[in-house]
């Protein structure tokens, strides 16, 4: 900065003066009672969470096992229900293995979206009524489909993916 004309016109002395002025700036007086009260509150919370953690250790394993059983049963039921609903339209769906993961499509860019230029996005999960996909008027389907929207920092949706893509394909095929 030494070669800057602005430096010669007094930026550095002004910075020194500002520094000196800021040194005189004092924070408002301490509310010591509130400070101590806050400290005790945090200590209490910490102690409580420590007790909870210690107590939690003894039943954590059985709880995890129970959760796994519930998830397995729930998953099996869901597969049975979905297979029952989807068996008729296509043979491929009926032959799908029981352990197949849910059909998730890749993100598809939306028409006229600004493109993927930013480095930061949010994924927003939404449910879209199947009637929104009706190709022919009067052939609307009941129900809805889960989808993820890729939303940019500006709030505009850039791309979409369907988490139950097979359901959407079946509904379109029905039409």
């Amino acid at each position: 900065m030494s070669n800057s004309p602005h430096e010669k016109t007094g930026l550095q002395p002004d910075l020194v003066q500002l520094r000196a002025a800021l040194r005189k700036v004092e924070a408002p007086a301490i509310d010591e009672a509130a400070l101590r009260s806050r400290f005790r509150e945090v200590q209490r919370q910490r102690a409580q969470s420590a007790v909870t953690e210690r107590a939690g250790g003894s039943w954590r394993l059985p709880l995890a096992a129970a959760a796994a059983v519930v998830l397995a049963v729930g998953g099996a039921l869901a597969v049975v229900v979905l297979r029952g609903e989807r068996a008729a339209p296509t043979l491929i769906a009926a032959e799908a293995p029981v352990t197949a993961p849910p059909a998730v499509s890749a993100f598809q860019p939306l028409l006229r979206s600004p493109g993927l230029s930013s480095s930061s996005y949010s994924v927003v999960r939404v449910r879209i009524p199947l009637s929104a996909f009706a190709v022919v008027p009067g052939t609307e389907q009941d129900g809805s489909i889960e989808a993820d929207l890729l939303v940019g920092e500006d709030g505009l949706a850039r791309a979409i993916r369907f988490n139950e893509a097979d359901a959407l394909l079946l509904s379109v095929a029905d039409q």
């Binding site: 800057s4 002025a21 700036v25 004092e26």
Partner: protein
């Protein structure tokens, strides 16, 4: 302990932080007394708002309560660690308030008249210009020029190499000087326009 020796100050801060982590209430109050003005001045230097600085100070010391045990003296002093916390809180709040480079709200454009701390208008304009700098230059200038941290300490707080700090300081100063010159010109032009009008009003 010699309070004027930076080394002994650092050691006392480290001890207080260790005691806070162990749950000693007096240590927390003592560290707050010793360091809250540093945090307050940093936030005030960044945003030029007393209420903003007060909120940041409170939040930083709440973080201290919860994260005292995470301090690592090998990475720098407690003061620099506090500035690091203050920086995160400040940036979060600036982001929320969309004040990265916008003009300051009315509350912060002038100092309280009854406790005017920076009387000189040039200094006020300089501080206002700093508060309008892009945040990466602003935080480097505030830490290095106004809080008097060394290059190494500033680099530690900003989590970047010393060379980056130097280049940010250089660009920040250049930008600052340009902003001040621009505002001087604008003032001079405004003054030239207003003066004849005032003269006519007096005559009529």
């Amino acid at each position: 302990m010699d309070e004027t020796d930076p080394g002994s100050n650092d050691r006392l801060d480290v001890r207080l932080l260790a005691e806070i982590a162990a749950g000693v209430e007096e240590a927390f109050v003592e560290l707050y007394r010793r360091r809250h003005n540093d945090v307050y001045r940093f936030a005030f230097g960044m945003a030029r708002s007393r209420s903003f600085a007060q909120d940041v100070t409170q939040e930083v010391f709440l973080n201290v309560l919860e994260n005292a045990s995470r301090f690592d003296s090998a990475k720098g002093s407690v003061r620099a660690w506090l500035f690091g916390c203050a920086r995160y809180v400040t940036l979060d709040r600036l982001r929320l308030e969309r004040r990265w480079t916008d003009d300051m709200p009315a509350e912060s454009t002038t100092f309280d008249s009854d406790e005017r701390l920076i009387a000189d208008q040039r200094i006020e304009r300089l501080h206002a210009a700093i508060a309008r700098l892009p945040v990466e230059y602003r935080e480097a200038l505030v830490l290095f020029e106004l809080q008097e941290l060394t290059y190494a300490e500033t680099a530690a707080v900003l989590d970047c190499p010393v060379g980056t700090v130097r280049s940010r300081l250089h660009r920040g100063r250049v930008l600052l000087a340009a902003m001040l010159e621009e505002s001087e010109q604008a003032r001079a032009e405004a003054g030239a326009k207003i003066e004849p009008l005032q003269a006519r009003e007096v005559c009529s």
